[in-house]
């Protein structure tokens, strides 16, 4: 029931985005897991829907999905709310939790390497399958537990990341190191994500166009776990490599697709991710006007 309500609310909000008069063309990165150092423009709201189809050895394949509401609170702080769910084929469809993420830019100017501090609070259950990060000793076999059992496990987790990102001759290179801790008495778990991407053309066309090469950004990302505090390293961890492609349309929509491949026996063999997002300019101003009344 909760899932159905959330999906209906999410769909309504997402599709009503089309009715906002101010739609900005986004220049979104194509990454699904890694983050670069670019934050949301202040006052803009980006509504995003992402989907992951994953294969499961010894069990049923799954389709996980999440909706993101990303808001540029200031030019140096972006805050984001996620709603997550999943369908395990032959089992059930369930709501798996929410996340509240914040990214802060500590330095005023651009440098060769730009740090971003990331703090996320996750309130989810054990059936969460969105694979938004690789951490600790998470492996494919963890996903075999039936939804009815896995959802009983309540997880309140804090995740910290240090994002180091650099842009050089049109290429973006980013490296994320993450540490996550279940707020119950569990040790810190670690993980990483790496990414490289570049627009297919660096110069903009003098004509407005949808299929121009500058609207496409291609790249690759790699992510996985690094064990936990008492057992750090690559042993019993899962790792993925995934080409990524983003298409920023002049209408303000962004489409992304990424086929991901497990790099060892602990990883899902194949993950197909796709996403669609739309950016709404001046959302903060619109809300401000609503709260204060038009003048």
């Amino acid at each position: 029931m909760l899932l159905r309500k959330s999906l209906i609310a999410g769909s309504l909000i997402f599709f009503s985005a089309g009715s906002f008069p101010l739609i900005a063309q986004a220049q979104e990165s194509p990454y699904f897991v890694a983050y670069d150092h670019y934050l949301e423009e202040p006052g803009n709201l980006e509504i995003e829907y992402f989907s992951t189809y994953g294969t499961q050895r010894g069990g049923n394949d799954f389709h996980s999905f999440w909706t993101e509401f990303e808001y540029g609170a200031t030019a140096w702080w972006t805050t984001e709310l996620y709603l997550d769910g999943q369908t395990t084929f032959g089992d059930s469809t369930i709501f798996t939790g929410l996340r509240w993420e914040n990214r802060v830019r500590p330095l005023k100017q651009e440098h060769f390497i730009n740090p971003i501090l990331y703090v996320e609070y996750e309130h989810k259950n054990g059936a969460d399958k969105i694979l938004k990060e690789g951490e600790g000793h998470d492996v494919e076999a963890d996903f075999l537990t039936p939804n009815a059992v896995a959802r009983q496990e309540r997880i309140n987790e804090l995740e910290l990341r240090l994002i180091l990102s650099s842009t050089f001759k049109g290429w973006n290179f980013t490296q994320n190191t993450l540490a996550a801790k279940d707020l119950s008495n569990s040790p810190w778990e670690f993980g990483y994500a790496l990414g490289a991407s570049r627009p297919l053309a660096l110069k903009a066309s003098a004509k407005r166009c949808t299929f121009c090469r500058q609207n496409f950004i291609g790249g690759v990302e790699m992510y996985g776990g690094l064990g936990y505090r008492h057992h750090f390293g690559l042993h019993d961890t899962s790792h993925y490599a995934a080409p990524v492609l983003g298409w920023n349309l002049p209408s303000g929509w962004t489409l992304r697709i990424s086929p991901g491949f497990g790099l060892n026996d602990n990883s899902h063999q194949f993950l197909l991710r796709w996403g669609v997002s739309r950016e709404i300019s001046g959302f903060g101003t619109m809300v401000g006007r609503l709260l204060r009344g038009r003048r």
Binding site: I23, T74, A75, W77, K108, E110, A204, A206
Partner: protein, 156 residues
């Protein structure tokens, strides 16, 4: 449980206070005249561009399509804050001001690359370098507020 509830409350308070301070700032910016005799803080930022950055020449200076491409980019990225015709908007100052006309292309490029993050202008280094120079070409082609020698910009 208490810690979780407290951190959620604290987080909500932090978010709300920043959100409303942003909206407040935007409302204040709305009433500010786009061009006044008193220099806008963002114009002062141009003066902070290092000498090396100022000295950079626009590599697309002689590109006949640079202004047209810059006009489209401006409509997509900048017009929301600086106004459809760059005359100044709710959040950003006029780009037709004398300070901008007199600024070196390299200084404008430096501002685009670094933003004025603490004062609300985001970093635009996510645009590849040639696109930032195309924007510089367009901005430098703008006339003053009293003249209408440009064709305006295209909104997405």
């Amino acid at each position: 449980m208490k810690i979780r509830a407290a951190s959620l409350h604290l987080g909500t308070l932090l978010f709300a206070s920043s959100f409303f301070s942003t909206v407040e700032g935007q409302q204040r910016g709305k009433s500010a005249p786009p061009q006044s005799s008193k220099p806008e803080p963002v114009y002062a930022e141009i003066g902070k561009a290092p000498e090396r950055a100022r000295a950079r020449r626009n590599p697309l200076e002689k590109d006949p399509e640079a202004v047209a491409a810059g006009r489209i980019l401006f409509g997509q990225r900048c017009a929301e804050c600086h106004g459809d015709s760059a005359e100044g908007g709710k959040k950003g100052p006029s780009l037709r001001a004398v300070e901008i006309r007199n600024a070196e292309p390299g200084a404008i490029f430096w501002i685009l690359t670094n933003g004025v993050v603490r004062k609300g202008m985001p970093v635009w280094s996510k645009l590849p370098e040639p696109q930032r120079w195309q924007l510089v070409s367009f901005i430098k082609s703008l006339g003053t507020a009293s003249t209408n020698d440009d064709k305006g910009v295209l909104r997405p």
